[in-house]
């Protein structure tokens, strides 16, 4: 029973992990990643780690929701319902992945692994709690302080303006002549449209979407939405 569950969950974890980089939508990708994590959480339960297993599911559900939000903010093709393939150094990466897997598998199989399984009936969660707030409190608290520092750093990094002016101050190279455009790479002015990647036909998608907008606004409505849809087509 345990073996069958373990086989099923590992297959799910690996399959989901592989799908992450194969599906054409960022939203689907992050939810596949979540499924992979949930499967690992399930394996954790089988490995008699009830707290870590369930906490993985809980944490990853929240984390992947946040991830999806960011996907949609930054990706071209936000709803992610048209095909996309954005990879570089593809063969090299496959090679590295396979070599890493083969190396670690070989190491696993060739090593004489120690065996000292968890005793049945051990108060695992209780012991973990005592450990967290006992001997290892310093480590636990360090993790907490690190998280706090990360939060502060994230807010500082992502805030548009700081106390002493614009947050990008200093990260943009100075102009070639005083007050001129910054040297180096010029930011695109198109508001983050990267529809060129992948070489797929985005025009038809734009059309479909504008049709949809019409459908929802009804006829004889203010033309604001129509202009917007027109813009989209122009960019596409």
């Amino acid at each position: 029973m345990t073996d069958a569950l373990f086989t099923g969950l590992s297959a799910l974890a690996l399959y989901a992990g592989w799908r992450v980089f194969r599906v054409d939508s960022m939203v689907r990708a992050s939810f596949w990643l979540m499924i992979s994590f949930i499967a690992v959480g399930g394996i954790g339960l089988l490995l008699s780690a009830p707290y870590i297993g369930v906490a993985t599911v809980f944490m990853m559900a929240v984390e992947m929701t946040v991830m999806v939000l960011f996907m949609v903010m930054f990706m071209m093709n936000p709803a992610g319902l048209n095909p996309m393939m954005m990879v570089h150094q593809h063969r090299f990466s496959i090679g590295v992945g396979v070599v890493a897997f083969a190396g670690m598998t070989a190491a696993t199989l060739l090593t004489d692994l120690p065996s000292n399984p968890v005793a049945a009936g051990k108060a695992i969660v209780h012991d973990l709690g005592i450990e967290l707030l006992g001997d290892s409190m310093l480590i636990f608290e360090t993790a907490g302080v690190t998280l706090l520092a990360t939060m502060v750093a994230a807010v500082i990094l992502s805030a548009r303006t700081g106390r002493f002016g614009d947050a990008v101050e200093g990260s943009v190279p100075p102009g070639l002549e005083p007050g001129g455009t910054p040297a180096g790479r010029v930011p695109e002015k198109s508001g983050g449209h990267h529809h060129g990647h992948g070489g797929h036909d985005h025009g038809s998608h734009g059309d479909g979407r504008s049709d949809h907008a019409h459908h929802h606004e009804g006829d004889g409505h203010d033309s604001g939405g129509h202009d917007h849809a027109g813009d989209k087509e122009k960019h596409a």
Binding site: M76, G97, V155
Partner: protein
């Protein structure tokens, strides 16, 4: 279910994650690859804890530290992505070439 089988599954996850982190062009997909590597690491730690440490609570502590690392990676990573996007309107790795110059 043995320690070896758990470690092989973990190696598979790390391999897939490595492939993703190296091959994906967009920042967010790259971070997904990193997350998948952490997933494999988490599974390996749990396997060792369960089969080889006799239930030593420090092993679970390591798993919790891995989770904290994942959270830090996510938060810091997204903050950097936001900052880079604000500055350069870039969301793919190829547009960051400053270090080459």
């Amino acid at each position: 279910m043995t320690l070896a089988s758990v470690l092989i599954v973990a190696a598979g996850l790390i391999g897939i994650g490595l492939y993703g982190a190296l091959s994906q062009q967009s920042f967010v997909m790259l971070m997904m690859g990193l997350e998948l590597i952490m997933n494999g690491a988490l599974l390996a730690v749990l396997g060792f804890w369960s089969f080889a440490l006799g239930g030593m609570p420090e092993g679970q502590l390591l798993a919790i530290v891995i989770m904290a690392v994942m959270a830090v990676e996510m938060a810091a990573g997204f903050a950097l992505v936001v900052a880079v996007y604000r500055n350069r309107q870039a969301d793919v790795i190829e547009s960051l070439t400053t270090l080459k110059q």
